[in-house]
């Protein structure tokens, strides 16, 4: 393993992210924070939502931000770099096994997703306060879930980015990302689906459900949530599945 090349590529991604920092900031946070403002503040303030919705919403928004950031940070560059311009070619020719380049993309996406997740908590808290009750009883558990969610977003980005052509990006959002978000227990807890038993079972194939429920269980455990053991098992399973699929697709794209 050539760590020098690996770290140089991470440095390259960090450099590009730093250059696009302001754009990234708007892209990541604007929509979720507007959602937080309308649903957490306006709707609650006008009495359409109960005050406790503020606390319930925050982990979902955090999951949403992390997953959106990770997928975007890995999938979008991959889709464009594998296109006609083949911008990735120079890195594929670096003296390193090409699988490590895919892993580097996952590490870079994971770090960006973690940064987004950590930044959205204070931002959403500022927008929603007063009335947000965060109870992080086990910081290590929270860190573990957050890390798994970040890795899920980046491996998901790898698998998507290597499966989709540039002209299908719109389709990727409407067919994959949007359903995943709406059926991902981000705006409501999984337990709220008890009146829709078929849907409640069906959404369990959606990894975002475990991300939202896992964060809910570690920062606002006062709400009903999926058991954390199930969250860990499911997220590890999806991460391995998406990473292996992503690596296989990456090889298919990289070598003809």
């Amino acid at each position: 393993m050539n760590w020098k090349a690996f770290l140089a590529m991470l440095a390259r991604d960090a450099h590009v992210a730093r250059r696009n920092f302001v754009a990234l900031l708007f892209q990541t946070f604007l929509q979720p924070l507007m959602f937080v403002f309308i649903f957490g503040r306006v709707m609650v303030g006008s009495g359409y939502m109960p005050p406790s919705y503020k606390s319930l919403l925050l982990p979902g928004i955090m999951a949403l931000c992390m997953v959106g950031t990770g997928i975007w940070a890995v999938a979008m560059p991959l889709i464009s770099e594998f296109q006609f311009t083949r911008e990735i070619e120079d890195r594929l020719l670096a003296p390193m096994e090409i699988s490590w380049l895919a892993v580097e993309k996952v590490v870079s996406g994971t770090l960006q997703a973690l940064a987004a997740g950590l930044m959205v908590i204070p931002a959403a808290w500022l927008l929603l306060r007063p009335g947000v009750e965060l109870n992080v009883a086990h910081p290590l558990l929270f860190a573990g879930v957050a890390l798994l969610v970040a890795i899920f977003s980046a491996t998901g980005g790898l698998a998507l980015g290597c499966s989709i052509e540039q002209n299908h990006i719109g389709l990727m959002f409407s067919l994959v990302v949007a359903p995943m978000i709406f059926f991902g227990c981000t705006y409501y807890p999984w337990s709220a689906l008890k009146n829709f038993p078929i849907m409640q079972k069906a959404v369990l194939v959606n990894p975002l459900v475990y991300a939202s429920e896992g964060l809910r269980g570690t920062i606002v455990p006062q709400f009903q949530h999926l058991p954390l053991s199930a969250v860990f098992v499911a997220l590890v399973f999806f991460n391995i599945l998406l990473l292996s699929t992503g690596l296989r697709k990456f090889h298919g794209k990289a070598v003809s």
Partner: protein, 339 residues
């Protein structure tokens, strides 16, 4: 250590459209419109290429678009997996020891594939970083290469706004950044103006003089003639001729080629043309013309015109080519390189 290049019976058959990496611009891959069950459509891009390129040599692959030049380069640079056969850079098997091979090679692709998120200087310094150069070393080399390729004044701009020629120059500078033992240049002068092409040739010769092996592909005979010590002419994935430019040109019967076009077809006339002094070979082309290989050029024209008028055939057009690689290609394939 100076490394050479060796391939043994390389074959590459595409069963799906080749991705952009390998596409040499000449493939036209059409999937069948009707989904009938049957064997997948196949494109044979390489059909048994065996080459021995010596360390320190400038070797050229000459051929028309779609001949298999870029696929050969793709296989040798770890970018295209061969269907069968072997490829070596120095002592390293390209497909068994990819990382060792990648350390030895520098690659300039047919189309500039620069990292559009970076400036010109950053493209060079990050490339150096991937190859483990120290930050001092990569800054120094980037400065020298930018100067050499006349890019210093645009060094700190994003490359998105660069002209095609500037991108091509930067691609070549990037490939040289880690001082590779073997440099692959896939149609390096495509899109360059004549002045820059001369600069490029000078740089290639200079790089070769420092003991490096260079493999370049081109469909420009002048370039192959000017730069290469040896060359292989490739068509339909096969080597059809191999040698020094001089040897190859001498191998064309007679050397000169006169492409004749008549008003109508006359087999008798072709027979009589063969009897003219200095004529070594006459081939009929598309029924109304003939390719005549001879050891002389213009001095044959009066005799040809006389023979034609004696046979009541009108001579419409004569094109005389001096001994050249173009003639050689035409002799072997019956097609012009430019067709």
């Amino acid at each position: 250590m100076v490394a050479g290049i060796r391939t043994r019976d390389l074959r590459k058959v595409y069963t799906s459209p080749p991705p952009v990496a390998a596409a040499s611009g000449g493939f036209s891959f059409r999937a069948p419109k009707n989904k009938t069950k049957g064997p997948k459509p196949e494109i044979v891009a390489l059909d048994g290429i065996s080459l021995d390129i010596l360390p320190g040599e400038i070797f050229c692959l000459l051929g028309p678009n779609g001949a298999g030049k870029s696929t050969t380069v793709g296989v040798l640079t770890t970018r295209v997996r061969p269907t069968s056969g072997q490829a070596f850079i120095g002592e390293h098997d390209v497909w068994q020891q990819q990382v060792a091979v990648k350390r030895l090679i520098g690659v300039v692709a047919q189309r500039p594939n620069l990292d559009f998120s970076l400036t010109a200087r950053e493209i060079l310094t990050f490339h150096g970083a991937y190859f483990g150069l120290s930050s001092h070393e990569r800054a120094k080399r980037a400065g020298v290469l930018l100067e050499r390729f006349k890019l210093t004044d645009r060094a700190d701009q994003m490359v998105r706004g660069f002209s095609g020629g500037m991108m091509q120059r930067l691609s070549i500078a990037r490939a040289m950044m880690h001082d590779p033992q073997v440099l692959f240049l896939d149609e390096p002068s495509a899109g360059l103006d004549p002045q820059t092409r001369l600069l490029l040739w000078e740089i290639i010769r200079e790089y070769n003089a420092s003991g490096k092996t260079i493999l370049l592909t081109t469909h420009n005979m002048e370039e192959a003639d000017a730069l290469c010590k040896r060359l292989a002419i490739i068509d339909h994935g096969r080597v059809i001729a191999l040698g020094t430019p001089r040897e190859l040109k001498a191998s064309v019967p007679g050397g000169y080629l006169l492409r004749l076009r008549f008003g109508h077809h006359s087999p008798d006339l072709l027979e009589r043309l063969r009897t003219l002094p200095g004529v070594t070979e006459v081939r009929s082309t598309d029924g109304e013309g003939a390719d005549l290989y001879a050891d002389r050029g213009g001095s044959l024209v009066p005799a040809i015109a006389n023979l034609a008028s004696a046979g009541a055939v009108e001579l419409c057009d004569v094109h005389i080519s001096e001994p050249s690689l173009e003639n050689l290609f035409l002799h072997h394939t019956g097609r012009s390189l430019r067709e």
